[in-house]
């Protein structure tokens, strides 16, 4: 399983895709980071007089992570699309199937590899707000909570992407369906919001964003964590089940 994950990650970094994604997402995030700092520097003089005013963490780090979540929503399909669909298209899938590996080892190996890639991406991202430590104090706990939120969010994205990649032979179709599903789960609480205020509807409970926002504010609820864990486990199991039944049908 770990061997598989290691080679999967290695192969990912052999392709230009991984490097381009890392480079371009860093470019966008760095630009956003700078605009947030710029804005903070502008209003710093005005708000310094107000007691209890938001600090640099709330005005720079948290908006940056919030933007990053949206960018990851766009990136994830591009990384997960190739996981299984491309193996099928290149006819390399029988290599794994006829090796003495179980399906769940294959699925977990691929999942861990992709998740590992996103951790690299996240680490690079986190260096930006942490660099603020050089000039100012920041709320490390709040940052940690947001980081955890982002990790869980990405882990769920990956699980959903992996499942949709297992359904098809065409990486492009996997990418489109993944993007659509993620986006739908992202905005699904808009319907929930308009229904009843204060009351949590099913739609808003389903929303990936709804469970991420409290963590951005530094609140960690076990219900939010379990929501993400349920999503991850469900989609991993669905993938395993689908691949298993594929041999039979």
């Amino acid at each position: 399983m770990f061997t598989l994950a290691r080679y999967e990650l290695y192969r990912l970094f052999l392709s230009p895709l991984a490097w381009i994604i890392l480079a371009l997402s860093q470019l966008i995030l760095a630009y956003l980071f700078l605009t947030h700092i710029d804005y903070f520097v502008q209003i710093q003089a005005k708000i310094s007089a107000i007691p209890g005013a938001p600090g640099v963490t709330e005005l720079v780090a948290i908006p940056l992570l919030s933007n990053a979540a949206t960018i990851f929503l766009l990136i994830t399909p591009l990384v997960t699309m190739r996981l299984i669909a491309e193996e099928r298209r290149n006819d390399s899938w029988p290599l794994l199937i006829s090796a003495p590996l179980s399906i769940h080892q294959i699925v977990l190996g691929k999942y861990l590899a992709t998740f590992g890639f996103f951790l690299v991406l996240l680490t690079l991202l986190m260096l930006m707000p942490l660099s603020l430590l050089m000039g100012s104090a920041i709320d490390l706990y709040m940052l940690a909570a947001s980081f955890l939120g982002l990790v869980l969010l990405l882990a769920s994205f990956t699980a959903i992407g992996l499942f949709l990649s297992s359904l098809t032979k065409q990486p492009a179709i996997a990418a489109i369906t993944t993007f659509t599903s993620l986006f739908l789960l992202w905005i699904i609480d808009w319907a929930g919001n308009s229904q009843a205020d204060g009351q949590d509807s099913l739609f808003s409970w389903l929303s990936l964003l709804r469970h991420f926002e409290p963590m951005l504010q530094g609140e960690i609820h076990s219900s939010d964590i379990s929501y993400y864990l349920i999503i991850i486990v469900t989609f991993l199991l669905l993938t395993i089940r689908h691949l298993d039944s594929e041999r039979i049908n």
Partner: protein, 315 residues
């Protein structure tokens, strides 16, 4: 030759309504090369996929070295090496990297990986290209890497699905040589639609058509079926056809042209000698007398064309 290494019992596989493989049973023993012969779409690849665990049979059982492929897939798969029609390769890796990966996923212990990879590189003649990317190799070399991947964990049974398709004649000869080398140490199941390949490589042949096993015997017995039982005859001044028909042992005469005939005779009564004598004494002006050698193709066509009707009557 005591217990079979691989045993398939009444395998059946359906795609939707179409029956791709129907009630196929066979065994393979230690050190044997078993050829699967059949036209395209006969169910060869489906059978190979089932044997390698890529496809589950709808009915039937596959046992490899005593392990059931459905119940103990891990143990069973450890004893097979599989090369599908398209070699399964990660083309962005170099040959050595790829074989290292294959060694690892086939559970070869870390301490033995280097030796295993070196051995297989040596055996498959890949020493020149170990550092090249697989994507940059020719089709013949890619096929060799595919074979290397299938034998790296020294499985007891190696399953090769049309290993020479799409190669040029020189590559085909090289790959056949390689398969012969492999057969010295492993049992091999080979599927192909090329008949001479079966003749040169296999100990035993199974002919399959429309998912059914039509013929299963040794190469020797297949060659016996190829024994001649017809003569090609050219006579410039031929007698009556009836006269030819009356020869002892002649079953029928086909008139090909005015002067050319084909005589079918019973294998036990060869009329050649008699015919020669008559031709000389009656001045038929004999130009040609050729015993017709049945090619494997003929036998193959005969088996494929005859058997389905036989089975149809039986069923």
């Amino acid at each position: 030759m005591s217990t079979p290494l691989l045993k398939a019992q009444s395998l059946s596989r359906q795609y939707g309504n179409q029956l791709a493989v129907n009630d196929l049973s066979f065994e393979i023993f230690q050190g044997e090369v078993l050829g699967f012969l059949g036209p395209n779409g006969a169910g060869k690849s489906t059978t190979m996929k089932m044997l390698s665990g890529n496809l589950a049979p709808n009915r039937g059982q596959i046992t490899i070295n005593g392990f059931d492929l459905i119940e103990n897939p891990k143990q069973a798969k450890a004893h097979i090496g599989y090369l599908p029609e398209q070699p399964p390769l990660y083309k962005e890796l170099s040959v050595r990297e790829f074989l290292n990966f294959c060694a690892k996923i086939n559970q070869i212990p870390n301490s033995n990986i280097n030796t295993a990879v070196d051995t297989v590189i040596e055996r498959c003649g890949l020493s020149q290209v170990t550092k090249r990317l697989i994507a940059h190799l020719s089709k013949g070399y890619q096929q060799r890497v595919g074979i290397a991947q299938a034998i790296i964990h020294t499985p007891s049974v190696v399953i090769l699905d049309e290993p020479t398709s799409g190669l040029d004649p020189i590559q085909i000869i090289e790959i056949r040589q390689l398969i012969r080398d492999i057969a010295a140490e492993h049992s091999v199941i080979l599927s192909t639609h090329i008949l001479p390949e079966v003749q040169t490589l296999c100990d035993r042949v199974q002919i399959i058509n429309q998912g059914q096993l039509l013929f299963s015997d040794t190469i020797g017995n297949l060659s016996q079926q190829m024994q001649t039982s017809s003569l090609l005859l050219t006579l410039l001044s031929p007698p009556n056809i009836e006269q030819l028909n009356q020869f002892h042992g002649v079953l029928s005469v086909d008139v090909l042209t005015d002067t050319q005939f084909r005589l079918h005779y019973h294998p036990d009564n060869n009329p050649t000698e008699l015919l020669l004598q008559q031709a000389v004494t009656q001045n038929w002006q004999l130009q040609q007398l050729t015993p017709e050698q049945h090619s494997l193709e003929d036998v193959f066509m005969k088996i494929i064309q005859n058997e389905p009707t036989d089975n149809g009557q039986a069923a």
